[in-house]
Symmetry: C3
Subunit: 107 residues, 3 copies
């Protein structure tokens, strides 16, 4: 693929209890993200769910997946901003590379 | 991880108003994609949503996330085909690497 | 982005008929994954859907997207465990790099 005209950005995904989704969005906004995508009604198991004696034990169904895409500079700020929330609450964060065609949309 | 038996492909994700989802699927199909995954009822903020005075102002709830996975050759065609639609409508596109075990499924 | 304090992991995504989602979760658990994220009510076209004469022909709406994040060692086990299921049933698997801040959560 010719990615010459695409710009590398950082995608940050958070899966967290839906009640904390507004806080995640606030972190995104405060860190300078220009937008987000949210998928609600997501199910999941916490990080030790599988170890509590049954596959579906502790499975939760009111999680939300929140995605933002930012440039490298803002990524550090988003990640730092999410840490206290993810330390306090059940939640996971995934950080990955992605490429976009209109980087100015995300700055 | 031993990725010797996995093949690198290109994942293209589009978040767009649900009313334009059929057009995205048509672009995928016309470009030679073999399938797609769609998540509807997605929420999101446009690229300048956060700048319009409030976190939830302008938040939309009828977006759709559409994902296709193609080889490098087809990726260029999909991306080129999506540009006019994304120029005309609110919508974002993310392009990233992914690996699959059965590349023939996606060609 | 300073990824010095992030650890590279492997994200494995499966899109499959919802009726087979429990089997995917069992593979995840048996392979040592510590959790997963599931998105149900996902639509999609199988790998030859577009070739059956119409864009929406064969489109299905009861698919599930299942995501787990594991370290490299466990990734091989998850992928090997999924193969028989994906050989027998319609379904696709995407494997990609992702970075996390708390790798111990996923081991």
């Amino acid at each position: 693929m010719q990615r010459d005209d695409l710009t590398r950005m950082t995608k940050i995904e958070v899966v967290i209890d839906g009640e904390h989704a507004p806080q995640v969005k606030e972190v995104f906004a405060a860190a300078g993200a220009r937008g987000f995508t949210g998928v609600s009604g997501v199910s999941g198991l916490g990080h030790d769910g599988y170890h509590q004696g049954g596959l579906l034990f502790n499975e939760r169904n009111a999680l939300e997946l929140l995605i933002t895409v930012v440039d490298e500079e803002h990524a550090d700020t988003v990640i730092a901003g999410l840490r206290p929330l993810l330390d306090a609450e059940e939640g996971v964060m995934f950080v990955s590379d992605t490429f976009v065609s209109r980087p100015e949309y995300f700055r």
